[in-house]
């Protein structure tokens, strides 16, 4: 690590102010950022911890029926507190990393980081969530802009994520054997006006929606509806753990399993 200062604001406004300093960076659960610092791959001058901001904590139901998750809410809290209202999301959160990771890592950190193999981006895009920042509201469809890239501006904080609650949903994650992030993860969400399918882990462009599957499932929400549908492996990640072709194949398998599990 290089030396840095730490600030612990207790309000969003103070956090935004602190992030205005040169080379300041937000610190969520630190599960991505701290290892990066240890490797000396980043050198912020100030870390602005978001974990002391109570208005960014917790899970609740909004007046519009949406599930509101504070931007600094840990995966473990979501796994517990969304279990009855949005089991598809809670199930996803409960399989991120290990208990230590789940009790530190936050939804805001995960979405801001937009790791191409991370789980939460699939839920946000699959459910059509709204990412709320200190400044504006961003539709998930506009938020993710390719691996490790989002619509966030410098110093902008994810304060809340609002999820429309689907009638049925499920996340299926095929583990990358070493990291146990998603080699391919598929989030399927069935709403009264249609089905959304988001895929993580697979594409060189990060999380994406599989529109052919959405159309087929909107017409007939059953695994059979996906028979014959394939995605191309051409732009998919090709690494030690699987070829693009293999990932493309898994997208089909995991989508079917998610549909079957969503019921």
């Amino acid at each position: 690590m290089y030396n840095f200062d730490v600030e612990m604001p207790t309000s969003i406004a103070d956090a935004v102010a602190a992030l205005g300093k040169e080379d300041a960076q937000a610190l969520g659960g630190g599960q991505t950022l701290i290892p990066t610092l240890k490797q000396r791959l980043a050198s912020p001058s100030v870390l602005v911890s978001l974990s002391g901001i109570s208005e960014m904590q917790g899970v609740c139901k909004g007046d519009d029926g949406k599930l509101c998750v504070g931007g600094a809410t840990t995966h473990a809290t979501v796994a517990r507190d969304a279990a009855s209202s949005f089991p598809g999301l809670a199930g996803l959160a409960s399989h991120i990393g290990d208990p230590a990771v789940r009790n530190r890592g936050t939804i805001g950190g995960s979405l801001a980081n937009n790791d191409p193999s991370a789980c939460y981006p699939a839920a946000a895009l699959g459910a059509g969530a709204t990412i709320v920042t200190n400044d504006r509201e961003i539709a998930a469809d506009d938020f993710f802009q390719g691996m490790f890239t989002t619509d966030l501006e410098e110093g902008e904080i994810i304060t809340e994520v609002r999820f429309p609650i689907p009638d049925a949903s499920n996340y299926q994650k095929f583990l990358q054997p070493a990291s146990r992030f998603a080699l391919v993860g598929v989030f399927v969400a069935k709403f009264s006006d249609g089905v959304r399918v988001a895929v993580t882990g697979a594409s060189n462009d990060g999380v994406f929606r599989w529109s052919e599957a959405e159309a087929a499932l909107s017409a007939n929400f059953s695994a059979n509806a996906l028979d014959g549908l394939t995605v191309s492996g051409d732009d998919m990640i090709n690494d030690l753990h699987g070829t693009g072709e293999y990932r493309a194949h898994l997208v089909g398998v995991m989508t079917k399993r998610a549909v079957a599990a969503a019921g």
């Binding site: 990291s179 030690l240 753990h241 070829t243």
Partner: protein, 786 residues
């Protein structure tokens, strides 16, 4: 009734109390007043020339004590290699210089190029970033087969090629083997890769060098499996420090698996720098450094052929293996693909003719050396895979084919220079069939099929050679060291014993098992015996722990020393009891005169030895302390039969291990619980190799699996409950304990059964798959099914 103490008892591991309660004393726990820290600047290029290395800015950085580069070590010896292999043509292997810090050229990613000693680690690291290093990259040599083609770039300019040696074994049999193949009724051929592994002990390597200016004495604290070997190699070959001025201490060590046998540059550096800086110097490897500086394991590319006669008897075996040495020869690297591999190619079978060819190759990768099993897993894997393939080609039951060819009479002299003293391969296979309920497999397969899963069964045998010895033989084979073991047994006046052993425990449980042996011999409580190891200052010269040798060789030395103790104590007792020595019996911790009720307790005898008032001083020295060096007359040959049942998900290629059964013959067993634990750990590592672990380089010599994000270690939920048995016991005939060694068996025996099982599963679904290279990741299994 199971015993509750002595040989055969499952005594609880006493050392675990300190390990599990944070009271251990690992090398990183050692902090010496005034110590400075070293950070190694490592090459991020696999192959290149050092065009510029300017340390002037770094030297002026805060806290910097001194900056070292390869130039500082030019006058110093290179890292020595402890085994010289002679090639097919009678020529010695090519042996390049291995500098402490790279000089002129870098040869693998991770090779240390410079070292900064500073007050704190962070300051050392800051200064290392200020070193102006320019490396002109050269084309990297990565693939072994292309490395030995004409015109390939050379890893070492002063060698004639990248071929370290071309070894033939048994060279005299080459033609006879070829003829046997010409005449064979059937030949099965298999080409395979034995995947490169990173050992990943839980504790990374650490070295702390200390120098006492007043007495000119050096001390190195290090994470080693064999401190005396480090003292000899580093003192005599690298730094020129006589052994009486050099102390090497390997305190609690958190796992070794082979990779902590070897003498590493960081050890030599810290010892050297402690004197040069007149400060204790400490280095603790990060996990990232461990991936690119700990010696790797395996990495063989093999073609094996098995010739059978018309009755399916094995007629001959012929192999050609390319073995990766990496960029330099690590301490024992040359011996692994040769004497620890070729000599095991007979396996459990009476194959009359065997020829093994091994080409050891230099590449721009981390040096490769012994890793749990070392050569024997590679031998077992190819042999047990080719037998399985042959059985399928011939349409015979793979177990029946094995049984038909088993060695059944002992001693058995193999055509690959070793003689098995004992074994009962039929008994272990019988036990396996029963324990693994092989007759119930078909029903289990149907049940899996009903759930859409493909079930497979894989069985294999293994034989290994442990307790590597004897010294005069290994000397002829090229070892530059003896392979005896030592023990000093010191009895205290009040009857307690301290055993100073040359063996080293880094997880094996010597502190528990060794006392069980002495407790049994004397008839006293195990708690009266303490094991001391790991410090050259207070243990006799020993060769350390690897190759499952501690109990077989080190334990035997301890038995011999204890026998001397008992012989002397008997003399003292005969004096005290005024009886003839031949009438004295030792039982339950007391000496008695046979046929009388006269006796004297162990403690009274030991007291007399140190307070010799009533003592035969004219015939016997006072005191009770004896040393023995034990040099075995042969290897020991543990063997076993393993079965693995897998389910393969046909949609994803994911393999899950549903059952794993291991039946081992370790000869006599001192502590069954510890042995079971050793087998469990070995199987976990073997399954890790078979399904998960893969150390991969790209064509530029960059390490692709350089962290746990990409290098998959086996985790508890990857593994089933293991069924383990070691009740089939054919004691070793040539060591006093009749023990054979159990440390590596699991890692040797498990990979082939896993792969055999997966191939079986796929073939059951009509897939024409005869082999998949390890690790059998979901992606590879799925690709094989397409």
């Amino acid at each position: 009734m199971p015993k509750d103490s002595g040989i055969g008892a499952s005594s609880k591991r006493r050392e675990d109390i300190r390990f599990l309660t944070g009271a251990g004393n690992y090398t990183d726990d050692i902090n010496i007043r005034g110590q400075a820290h070293v950070y190694f600047l490592r090459s991020d290029v696999a192959h290149g020339t050092i065009a510029k290395i300017d340390t002037s800015a770094a030297e002026g950085m805060p806290g910097v004590v001194r900056v070292f580069t390869g130039a500082d070590f030019e006058a110093i010896g290179g890292m020595p290699c402890g085994w010289q292999v002679t090639d097919r043509h009678g020529q010695p292997m090519q042996e390049p210089k291995h500098p402490v810090l790279a000089h002129v050229k870098v040869r693998h990613v991770g090779e240390p190029v410079a070292a900064v000693v500073a007050e704190t680690l962070e300051q050392a690291r800051d200064a290392a970033e200020a070193i102006d290093l320019e490396i002109n990259a050269l084309p990297a040599v990565v693939d072994m087969k292309s490395a030995v083609t004409d015109g390939a770039p050379k890893v070492h300019d002063d060698l004639t090629s990248n071929l370290c040696y071309d070894w033939g074994f048994v060279e005299e049999n080459r033609e006879a083997v070829n003829e046997a193949f010409d005449k064979a009724a059937h030949v099965t051929t298999l080409e395979l890769v034995n995947n490169r592994l990173v050992a990943n002990p839980m504790e990374p390597r650490v070295a702390v060098g200390d120098y006492a200016r007043g007495t000119d004495e050096h001390t190195l604290y290090t994470t080693s499996q064999n401190p005396h070997v480090i003292r000899l190699l580093m003192g005599a070959f690298v730094l020129g420090i006589p052994e009486h001025k050099l102390r090497v201490v390997a305190p609690d060590v958190g796992g070794g698996f082979g990779t902590k046998i070897f003498h590493y540059q960081e050890e030599a550096f810290c010892t050297f720098a402690a004197k040069a800086c007149n400060r204790p110097v400490k280095w603790t490897s990060s996990r990232t450094e461990a991936f690119m500086s700990d010696a790797h394991g395996r990495d063989h590319v093999t073609k094996i052929e098995l010739a059978l006669d018309a009755d399916n008897n094995f007629a001959a075996i012929r192999t050609e293996t390319f073995a990766n040495m990496g960029a330099y020869l690590s301490t024992f690297a040359p011996s692994v693909p040769t004497w620890l591999h070729g000599t095991l190619m007979a396996g459990n079978y009476k194959t009359p003719l065997i020829y093994v060819n091994v080409k050891a190759v230099f590449t721009n990768t981390v040096p490769v050396d012994a890793y749990r099993g070392a050569g024997r897993p590679e031998a077992t894997f190819q042999l047990e895979r080719v037998i399985d393939k042959a059985a399928r080609e011939l349409g015979v039951d793979p177990i029946a084919l094995r049984r038909q060819n088993f060695v059944t009479e002992f001693p058995y002299a193999t055509p690959v220079a070793v003689e098995y003293d004992t074994g009962d391969y039929v008994a272990t296979m019988d036990k396996l069939e029963e324990m693994a309920d092989l007759s119930g497999f078909d029903a289990r397969r149907k049940e899996s099929e009903a759930r859409g899963k493909l079930r497979g069964l894989g069985v294999n045998c293994y034989i290994e050679a442990c307790g590597i010895a004897p010294s005069n033989l290994v000397g002829q084979l090229g070892a530059r060291a003896g392979l005896y073991e030592s023990a000093t047994v010191r009895v205290n006046a009040t009857g307690g014993l301290v055993v100073m052993t040359g063996s080293h425990s880094h997880g094996q449980g010597h502190e528990t098992a060794f006392p069980q042996v002495i407790a049994e011999m004397i008839g006293i409580d195990e708690s009266m015996i303490e094991i001391v190891h790991g410090d050259t200052a207070n243990t006799p010269m020993g060769m350390g722990t690897y190759g499952s040798r501690s109990l077989a060789v080190g334990g035997s030395a301890m038995v011999r020393a204890t026998e001397k103790i008992i012989a002397k104590a008997t003399k003292i007792a005969s004096h005290l009891l005024e009886a003839s020595e031949s009438d004295i019996e030792l039982k339950d911790g007391a000496f008695s005169v046979a046929g009388t009720d006269k006796s004297v307790a162990w403690g009274d005898v030991t007291l007399a030895a140190y307070v010799p008032h009533n003592y035969p001083l004219e015939d016997l020295e006072p005191g009770l302390e004896e040393t023995a060096f034990y040099d075995p007359s042969n290897f020991t040959y543990p063997s076993g039969a393993y079965a693995c049942e897998v389910e393969v998900d046909p949609d994803t290629g994911k393999v899950s291990i549903e059952a794993f059964t291991a039946v081992d013959d370790f000869g006599n067993v001192v502590n069954p619980m510890i042995v079971t634990g050793q087998v469990h750990g070995g199987i976990a590592q073997g399954i890790g190799q078979a399904l998960l672990e893969n150390c991969a380089y790209d064509e530029n010599g960059q390490l692709l699996s350089a962290s746990y994000m990409d290098y998959a270690m086996p985790r508890a939920d990857d593994l089933p409950m293991f069924a383990v048995d070691h009740s089939c016991q054919t004691p070793c005939t040539h060591n006093p304990l009749g023990v054979k060694g159990c440390g590596e068996a699991g890692a040797i025996g498990s990979p082939p059964s896993v792969v055999n099982a997966v191939v079986d599963a796929l073939q059951s679904a009509g897939k024409d798959v005869t082999h998949i290279d390890m690790p059998l990741s979901p992606a590879r299994v799925w690709a094989a099914m397409q």
